[in-house]
């Protein structure tokens, strides 16, 4: 139990997937200009990354390793993720239309979000068990969503004050802010 708790803290904060492992930076730069879209993207990623992580783990263990074709991992995983995103999109449209209206536009973007693919590969690389895979994928995705929300909040503030030098406005200041955020996350390093 304690191991799992440590894993959650480590994946969410200490080895934060965006700030320390550098995955999924594109949405952090791209969709954080408004708070609502950050919430939508974060929720969609939590959902898809958890499903993709576990599905890829199952496929790796039951198909790729049994047949001895691990070298096809990259190709198979990306196709699984693409298919999964499509499937989730169709399912959501039928089962939960309000949720689809809120998250729908973010779903196609997730296929090329390196965070989803990265988590699936990391699970295999670090030899996680099924339970660890589930927890690691979920916690990493929550860490991603947290950074997205923090960043959106900070950017709305910065835009409102209008005190950012014009040449740093937009992407540059977002990256510098991410660096500062990473420093404060790195401060938690001794905890686990």
């Amino acid at each position: 139990m304690q191991d799992y708790l440590l894993m959650i803290v480590a994946a969410m904060f200490i080895n934060n997937i965006v700030l320390i492992r550098f995955m999924g930076n594109c949405p952090v730069v791209g969709v954080t200009s408004s708070y609502e879209s950050a919430v939508g993207m974060g929720a969609a990623v939590i959902f898809v990354a958890t499903m993709a992580g576990t599905t890829c783990w199952i496929i790796q263990k039951t198909i790729l390793e049994v047949l001895g074709i691990e070298y096809l991992q990259t190709l198979v995983f990306i196709l699984v993720i693409a298919a999964l995103v499509q499937f989730v999109e169709i399912l959501m449209q039928k089962v939960a239309p309000p949720l689809y209206r809120a998250l729908g536009i973010f779903l196609p973007l997730i296929t090329t979000n390196c965070m989803v693919f990265g988590v699936s590969v990391l699970n295999i690389k670090e030899e996680h068990s099924f339970m660890q895979t589930l927890i690691f994928s979920l916690a990493s995705a929550v860490g991603f969503a947290l950074v997205l929300l923090f960043m959106a909040g900070l950017r709305e503030r910065m835009d409102a004050t209008g005190r950012v030098p014009s040449l740093l406005r937009g992407v540059p200041i977002t990256l510098i802010t991410a660096g500062m955020m990473g420093l404060s996350f790195a401060g938690l390093l001794g905890m686990a």
């Binding site: 930076n25 390196c114 990256l175």
Partner: protein
Amino acid sequence: MAARIVNEFTKGFWKEIAPLRFALGICPSLAVSTKVESALGMGFAVVFVLCMSNVLISAVRNLVPDKVRIAVFISIIATGVVIVELVMQAYFYPLFLVLGIWIPLIVVNCIVLGRAEAFARKNTIPLSLSDGMGMGLGFTLSLVVISSIREILGSGTWLGMLVMPEAYPGFGFLLRPPGAFVIFGLILGIMNVISARIEKKTA
């Protein structure tokens, strides 16, 4: 025609240099830029994948129905990445270990799919090849710039050679993840200054 090919090639270096202008492919630019050596390795891997995917996608552009194009593009790109992965593992093993998870992650590099979607599916094979080459080398160039700054200031070396005085203590912050973000942000700011100057001069 020849002029257009040259034009598509050179736009990747300044006018449309992907990581610095459009913030595409930031993740690998940040992750593998602690050393110039790994930045070069990553850059050439992307050049190969980008040229291959652009040529193949351009070749099948009239055969693939619009609705399934993304799936087809991604399969082509992933095949290229698998080739790079296997070749690197066989012939450049130390580099393979350094780049680690970032080799499979070329699949989801926004530049590669972005060029397929925005360029290769609408243009002829020679144009797509020169576009892929230019964009890939532009990506390599920006990686080298970032990694040079980080390696020289961070550990006092460049491509493994000592360039700073021996007593230089090294600015460790730049080698850590937060330093990468700050340096990248500052480079983008400097790019904005230079572009603004150029625009003023031509206007």
